[in-house]
Symmetry: none
């Protein structure tokens, strides 16, 4: 059986993801967790901190998945492509609570508060994972020589945008995710001669 503290975090991940920060209330969270209202501040301090805790929880799991996906790939190019596939796949997993992270991440609309620095820093690890693959690919010749940090940012920017198109907008075309991965694959591939 899960503790009430865990039940709160679970409910928070569901609701923040579904309704966003502003429209998720203490009442809705404590009702869904079937827990007293006051426990929220007792365990998490305030709404902002709970939001962050929910986002970080998803981010940590996300990082595990990304690391698993990139390890054991033959080339850096494959690693980078697998990174993208894992990124997009994770966002579609029914119980990954991905949307909380979308709303809490540094790419979200929300004004960054001091609490969010923790999120910003942790999110950089996502970039590190990708940068490692890009460097490996340049070494092993599977990726053309390019500016690593910029390219990592560009690729992740594409992931962010494709993901938003799919999950937030009403007009995602059927194969966007595949196209996006091809897009990346092509743009970083070493010249074939």
């Amino acid at each position: 059986m899960s503790t009430k503290k865990e039940r709160l975090l679970e409910a928070a991940k569901e609701l923040f993801g579904e309704y966003g920060y502003a429209e998720t209330t203490f009442k809705k969270i404590s009702d869904r967790a079937d827990v007293a209202l006051g426990l929220l501040t007792h365990h998490y301090g305030n709404k902002e901190k709970l939001f962050l805790a929910a986002g970080l929880d998803v981010l940590c799991h996300f990082l595990q998945v990304l690391r698993a996906a990139t390890s054991n790939t033959p080339t850096g190019h494959d690693g980078a492509v697998e990174f993208c596939r894992a990124y997009l796949k994770f966002s579609l997993e029914p119980d990954s609570y991905w949307l909380v992270l979308v709303r809490c991440s540094p790419y979200s609309d929300m004004k960054t508060s001091s609490d969010r620095d923790i999120m910003n820093e942790k999110f950089l690890e996502v970039h590190s994972v990708l940068e490692a693959e890009l460097e490996r690919g340049i070494q092993d010749g599977s990726i053309r020589p390019l500016a690593v940090p910029e390219t990592a940012h560009a690729i992740i920017a594409l992931m962010v945008g494709a993901n938003r198109t799919r999950l937030l907008t009403p007009y995602c075309p059927p194969h966007l995710y595949e196209v996006a991965v091809d897009f990346v694959s092509r743009a970083i591939a070493a010249d074939r001669n």
Copy 2:
């Protein structure tokens, strides 16, 4: 001198852009516009509609700029690249109130309400502009054969992500915008042989 109605929209664009929807209040807007509180509902109906009006105002201007940038380009490839440059440039213009659009667009975190359908529809025109260039490029041989709508979505996704990296996150590398444009250029370019 501008009318009070215009002053309200101006203030709304500033504040929605800077603070987001939830943290912008009628009081703040009417204070900044130096206009009576009641005029807001009088002229714009309600908060949601005002938000939309502010976003659409920016979007319309944005579309003009995109159309101007893509016209008179020698090839479709050039047109697509100019589209990207204009997109990113507009987002940095000091008085374009770009951030309102970021927060109001279909790519934003906000739950879509019925009013936002208008925004969604209008935003599709941005895609149309790009799709026209892609089609032209495939015709004139400057762009490799590819799925037009998907690719347009992928390119715009990259614009959305790069733009968010630059304006919302704390860690944008110096040349991200240039790299993003190169990225697109490379990914859609026809093979050179």
Copy 3:
């Protein structure tokens, strides 16, 4: 007919005086004033500011009374004595709402917040009124030479203490106020030879 803003201040003076700051709630005030809850912050900003407004309202009236009482007294000694009488009398007037001032004045238990600076400054005028009488008395020979600011503070300290004994403690002897005035009269009187 009084405005709702005035009714709020009236209710605040009653309730803050009777129950103190902490035990007076927005609900109690708006109920007593028969006015919507939200009007309180609309007109006065917050609880602290309303408290201050209530206290200042009483203080201003108090100052008028003190000035009236001390003017037209034959000697400085008489002026000082009348000051004390007026001070103590005012505190017993049924509709002077004196207790608000007791709880809001610089002599109260409350932590001083930035808002209270206004109160502190205004309260100094009470001292000025008394000091003027002491100086006059030293000039006209009705008061023995003494340190004016210190003595004014001592006399007011006695008023503060006597007043608190009467209104806050359960054991005020019947003639305390008279004794206190005699006490002052004797302590400042010029030697009779």
Copy 4:
């Protein structure tokens, strides 16, 4: 090493004195005492009772000091003057936790609850000490004939007021305490002829 019960009382004296009743919470007290929250009610019943215990603790010490100061004085007048000196001196002692008593005493702003009767009664002993000196002084001719209870109340009122001026207001003149003692000395002294 002190017991946890004692540590709680110590922390309570500090915090009630510094922040007042309303702004001192169980959490703050148990945090400062570095003791479990539940021990507070376990040992002291409830907040009001703890407040009282803190105040009484200080009051008892205060009474010892007053009694020591007045004994072995040659005349009643000297005894009364020493009473005043000891009163004011105690209030300045760094580790007397005087402010708790200020906030808990019958002269404080707080509404008296049933628990406070104990405080009221105990505080009367302070008056008894002074009244004994006044009576002695009238007997031994060092003090002019006067109404003993009223005068004791007036003197203590002056102490209360002077003390509040010094500790609570921002405008205490340098020698107020000395002037206050002189003030008393003069007002009760027997005529010298």
